[in-house]
Symmetry: C2
Subunit: 460 residues, 2 copies
């Protein structure tokens, strides 16, 4: 039973938005969960926004009724970012999916926030350009900004932070602002673009984005290299990075992850710790680079080298990598996805991964390890029985040990998934001194705590 204030807010929103506003059970349920094990929390209503003005009007109405706002893309977050833990309005931006402008000669584009990464790259195909940031899911670019997403290409092309030129957002007061622009760099005032990137919807609703694009490389080679040991695989990654070999992608999958991918994607890779790599450049350059990597890998117990020079083979390989988390949960019927992510200095990567693997083996948890190891970033992907309190407790304890291990090595509690609900406590352990200034900024820009309340840090 909704209380009176909620009913009034919804009534006013319905009046403004008509059929774009839904408080049906189905819509609320679909907007109260993400891809993680975190407990769903339904919003009171969902707005299917079609324009920045829709968002601005909704924010103003919500402000007048002190009604929380939760931005929603396609719900692929992994730490409960979209859960409406205090109720309120989920603003679904997936219908704002227009590609507004592609400037081929400037290598940039401007899109609405609901465009997904695959949609954008499909659209760009004929231009010879691409956008490199690729989290596993086919997330919206708005969501990818909000969570500071990265992915397999980050080791070469950077994360969302390095690839967003400007953002249009609706702030908590309903004002529409545009940060950044189309210049490649600017020193004009505070960097509000990057303040919004990673703010997880707590400072504003992102409605448009201007992105950097890249020319599709002249030549691409992808290869797969199994290793005798996990240590050998990780040590070759470290050597690759330290010698400055320009990998575009270098991804680790442990033997169980390979088994999961084989089953899920119908592959027949040897069930060993494996690196997936890609080189981008000229025909000449990538051949050189690949040979250098092959020599290096051999020193660390790298086995038979698989190639994927055809586009379709490469696509199949990377699709398998991107679906790694889904593949892991498919191994156990009814399980939910718990994927944690840490990032450490590269010199600590072997120790961090090996200790984590040993720790995982000591538990009864079913989990795989996969990661963007060129950045020192890796995930443990658990297929979790979220209804078993003992298992949830074991998972939480394991996660805590992993994060403490990463922090002790000078790393971070999240390389790319964000804080959301799941890592609020860990943010305090990593950056206890920063919670106060973050709160001050939040208070300044959103004094009512309208914007995605209950995420990142405690505010009230």
């Amino acid at each position: 039973m909704k209380n009176r204030a909620v009913k009034k807010a919804i009534a006013e929103l319905k009046q403004r938005f008509g059929a774009q506003l839904s408080d049906s059970q189905g819509d609320c349920e679909a907007h109260g969960r993400d891809e993680s094990f975190h407990e769903p929390a339904w919003p009171d209503a969902v707005l299917f926004a079609q324009s920045t003005e829709d968002v601005a009007d909704a924010v103003k109405i919500c402000g007048a009724h002190d009604f929380p706002i939760i931005p929603f893309g396609v719900g692929t977050s992994l730490e409960g970012h979209v859960m409406a833990v205090q109720g309120g309005l989920s603003i679904d931006l997936s219908r704002m999916d227009q590609i507004l402008e592609v400037n081929v000669s400037d290598l940039d584009c401007t899109i609405q926030a609901g465009v997904t990464r695959k949609q954008l790259n499909t659209y760009l195909r004929d231009t010879g350009l691409f956008f490199p940031v690729d989290p596993g899911a086919d997330a919206t670019l708005g969501g990818m900004c909000a969570t500071a997403a990265s992915g397999t290409n980050a080791v070469r092309y950077g994360t969302m932070r390095e690839n967003v030129l400007g953002i249009e957002a609706v702030l908590a007061n309903g004002e529409i602002v545009s940060t950044g622009g189309r210049a490649r760099k600017s020193a004009a005032g505070y960097d509000l673009t990057r303040l919004l990137i990673g703010s997880e919807g707590t400072l504003g609703v992102i409605t448009q984005i201007t992105l950097r694009l890249y020319g599709i490389p002249e030549a691409v080679s992808a290869c797969v290299c199994p290793f005798d040991t996990l240590n050998g695989a990780v040590e070759s990654v470290i050597a690759t990075i330290q010698m400055g070999l320009p990998v575009a992608r270098i991804e680790l999958l442990d033997e169980l992850q390979i088994r999961a991918c084989n089953q899920y994607a119908n592959l027949d890779l040897p069930e060993q710790p494996t690196l997936f790599l890609e080189f981008h450049g000229t025909e000449h350059g990538i051949t050189d680079d690949t040979m250098r990597f092959k020599d290096l890998a051999r020193e660390f117990g790298g086995g038979e080298f698989g190639w994927a020079t055809h586009q379709e083979d490469r696509n199949r390989l990377w699709a398998a990598r991107h679906d790694a988390a889904y593949a892991t949960t498919q191994m156990r019927a009814g399980s939910k996805l718990m994927t944690t992510d840490v990032c450490v200095p590269i010199s600590c990567l072997a120790a961090c991964i090996l200790e984590t693997k040993q720790d995982l083996d000591r538990t009864d948890l079913l989990g795989t390890i996969a990661g963007h190891v060129g950045d020192g970033n890796f995930h443990v992907i658990l297929a979790l029985d979220a209804d078993d309190p003992n298992e949830v407790e074991a998972m939480n304890a394991f996660n805590e040990r992993l994060i403490e291990r990463a922090l002790a090595m000078g790393g971070t509690c999240t390389g790319e998934h964000g804080i959301g609900l799941g890592k609020m406590d860990f943010l305090g352990r990593e950056h206890g001194d920063l919670i106060a200034p973050m709160r001050l900024i939040k208070q300044a820009l959103d004094p009512q705590n309208l914007m995605n309340p209950g995420k990142i840090f405690d505010f009230e």
Copy 2:
């Protein structure tokens, strides 16, 4: 005559800091000016800080006396950033020049804010690593963070924004905070690292920095290419970027700038619009790249290609480029430096530079054009008689036309120099909608307006 409140603040600072605190005329004068024509404004006293704790204590004492704080590195800013326009304490960080940690295997280092870019690279020489960001002056890394500096290598390696992993800073309340860390990427909470980068001392005093480093490339080739026309030079830059040729540096100097550099640095380059370039990579790769550029340049009227394969020749060349602004003011005895900088989308670069050159030629101002054209960023460097009000008026009008031109093309009023005193009005024209949120953030983090008051935007 200092007023009583100022006297009390200085007395307390003297008591705490003894000889580290100076209110001598010489020290105040030396800390009330930068390298620009902007009118000096002396602080009431100067603290030569030796530790983060010194800075924190000074900030607390200043807070108690409502006494402004102006962070000072080596005074190489170009828009009056260090002028004590409301008096107060200049905190000189140049004695905080320790390189605290170099992690060769992780390609990072942690330094105190007073380390200069040349000092760092000299120190790193034996490690095989280097730090790429290189504004013309030998600025401190703290100053380079505060102004979001970039330079000739930004087209390949990025600006300060892309190369700082973490910052230690003293906030206005005297708290010491550490943002970021040593992980290559993190999605842990608001990006306070990048909020501080470009905040020009208005949000805190930067005391330590963790930087990304890069392996010195296996092979480097530098070359100089004169062009028949300015347009030809700029069009070859645009083509270079659009075809994705991986230049590490691509710098434009117009014919008058070349004359100035010839005189200042004892060179004998042909007095034509000229590109300075550098390629980084393998022996093989850079030969390929250079040949491709050579073919391309010929299409646009590129002339005889000069090479600098020896380290000393390259150093001489880049020293001349870095000293371009000093070379220009040397052409006119007693002149002061006024260098403005805009950045536009690369497709607009030719139009922007050519219109600017024509505009400059129509005035009586003595000025050169030089720039980091691979980013769409260029400077007009004026040798100004700052005592001639007519000339100052003409300069201001010219600058305004230049910035309006850049903004109309989707560019920014400053690519790398920052806002300081000189571009406050232009920030409002570029980002009028952002002044309010910037003010809210400033108010939240520095409610007394202690930190470098009177810069970036009007606050009180």
